[in-house]
Symmetry: C2
Subunit: 457 residues, 2 copies
Amino acid sequence: MARSATSPLLVDLYELTMGQAYFDAGLADRQATSDLFYRTLPAGWGYLLAGGLEFALAYLEELSFADDEVAYLESTGLFTPPFLDHLRALRFTGTVRAMPEGTLLFPGEPALEVTAPVIEAQLVETVLLNELHLSSLIAGKAARCVDVAEGQMLVDFGLRRAHGGEAGLKAARAAFLAGFDATSNVLAGREYGIPTAGTMAHSFVESFASEETAFRAYARSYPNHSILLVDTYDTRQGIRRAVETGRELATRGSRLTGMRLDSGDLVDLSLEARALLDEAGFEDALVFASGGLDERDVAALLEAGAPIGGFGIGTKMVVSADAPYLDMAYKLVEFGGRPTMKLSTGKATLPGRKQVWRVIADEHFAFDVVEREGAPGPDGAEPLLAEVMRGGRHLGADTLQDARERAAAQRERLPSEHRRLDATPYDVRIGPELRALADEVRATAGSGAGSGGQRRV
Amino acid sequence: MARSATSPLLVDLYELTMGQAYFDAGLADRQATSDLFYRTLPAGWGYLLAGGLEFALAYLEELSFADDEVAYLESTGLFTPPFLDHLRALRFTGTVRAMPEGTLLFPGEPALEVTAPVIEAQLVETVLLNELHLSSLIAGKAARCVDVAEGQMLVDFGLRRAHGGEAGLKAARAAFLAGFDATSNVLAGREYGIPTAGTMAHSFVESFASEETAFRAYARSYPNHSILLVDTYDTRQGIRRAVETGRELATRGSRLTGMRLDSGDLVDLSLEARALLDEAGFEDALVFASGGLDERDVAALLEAGAPIGGFGIGTKMVVSADAPYLDMAYKLVEFGGRPTMKLSTGKATLPGRKQVWRVIADEHFAFDVVEREGAPGPDGAEPLLAEVMRGGRHLGADTLQDARERAAAQRERLPSEHRRLDATPYDVRIGPELRALADEVRATAGSGAGSGGQRRV
């Protein structure tokens, strides 16, 4: 299980002030249920991968306020002594149902559902969103790379431009979950057991009197682990010098691992590199490419016949450059046993506790149904939400390897039109009992004035 | 000074394998100088704010490998015992010159320069890029919001969709540096002394039997700090109910702080809210707006005459949605006293140690000149790079307040065409001595084959 170092003060202020107001209103023990779901997918994306659950559960399990943290809250003047005492004793005691990491999911489906006393359920909103958002976003983006890579090696190179070290670490994990082969991030290698990989930098080449001296120096230290960077000066010269270094290695019984192209016309240059490597008898040596690549570049390069055996995917994957956030929400769906919903323009929600059913036909995913929890699902459909925490205790952790295998197995069962870079939307239906409940709640929501009645879900 | 909890293993693998190769080549003590700079700005952006320096310096000052970290590296089989001993003893002993946080900067200007034994200078690349990137990116994005907000209150609401908790915390700090007024992030309030602010969530409103009951409950707990959220059901009804709650508060000697609009036509709704508040005598009550806003929305709302006194800016600011990364690099410019440069297609660099001079005319910034360090600058120009670390020791920390004031003062001196949302590029020139050096180095770079001679910088 992932360790959490998350402060309980990593929270939006209103989670705490609403807690105070619930407390003052005598509602501290009222049970609330909230859903976490994605409203839409980024343009072109066909699916998401559930990610971040293990981080979220670690946070919930360890949530508590230390004395100095309560003292800080006291210093704001916003909270009463009885409420601060309540926070001092607070632990997360609720139940969590969720899709395990690596599950494929689609817009409108709850990825996670929390049922807890309302102050707890509200307090954890900020971190639950933050954790699931980051990991699901990067796993989804990385999966798009895997979908087009035709089995060629994919290495995460993103740490330097991830949004912080934590983001770099979690992005490396999310990319591996999605099917990446390795990461340049040494800490991710240690923390999560992800294979690490790397090549060399332009600065290394520039530090030596000549390119060939630099190649020889690196090859001396790593005679069987050298991927030589060939574009510091003249790339075609660099390719020839790398092959020459390979010949020198071969005379000493070692072998060149490959070379890296980081700029220029990667189709032409990779063809030339491959031809010269093959001509020299280095058929096993890799032509590795990097330099601002994303999934569309990978697809275009392979379609153009570039003989590239490995890709370093950095910035554009770890910040999900074309879609740097997901439209997601954590919404109250039940309070004190009463189903609730929001009718705000363009942001309406569905009430009550839910289950997501996945209908399989011919061993492929056909469509999903979001239905009221407890209502029957379609014949033979698989339920996706399972209890993962009860009474604040984690009910058995999933490993990263489990999640990675789940993602791979489920992607194979998703029809290919939903795995293309410009994907067809997958069919997610609302079950009849959930639809009936929504109609019922909408008719009375907001009470009194009955104003909700005319709004569409 | 900011505390660093950054592991020395938060690094790209190649920084360490290159270290091994330098070590084996007998170059461990050779001095290297590297520049950190931004190649280009995102579309429309006129400037960046230097950010993240205090985090970077904290990391450098505390950099060291613990035994378990060295043991992990040993387990990879990639490093020799003498090099692992070298790492065990390694501290950052170098010199850093940098622009202080809050300095306005432009493409091609070094924001930071490291001079240190090459293994140290290389090892720190990943974290230096990561730290400066995140803080400069978000400060730059937040500054665009400040540039159009006409002095209205700006509050960071981004924590939930920042890329991790660390990113949320550092984004809150960067936004405050850039001129934001407050953050919803309680931990940022505690760690950095940033004022915290917040309103209420839709879930709070839905937890009560009716909207008016919810408003009353919140106002009971916060009779003088209530910003009521009015769009959970019917927004026009919500506005009226909020005004009604204000009347109830007034009868008890309290005052409504304001109301928040989070969806719908914010121009129309804010006009209606403002009119009803004024009619009820609540001229001081704030109309606050949120809901996926960025700087272009803020500008458009204010231009359309929306009487909005405060904006909650969340996701699109903390992930810098239109430009989620900066094109930046950390490049070797001198090795063992010899100036170096990279000639890669489209990624060429300028050699040697540098100074950035800012030329002021009529109390406004006229243009900048990047010149060789030690060469004279233009008459009366201000040098922007100063020594901030020597022998691995921080030479006196800047406070966040200093940086915030610096940013505000410098932005006032930047001509307005560079502060527009679609800004005119600022003039950055290359000094004559730097240009001569680049010509000289280019002619010999890559050595032997003389291949570099034909490439353009």
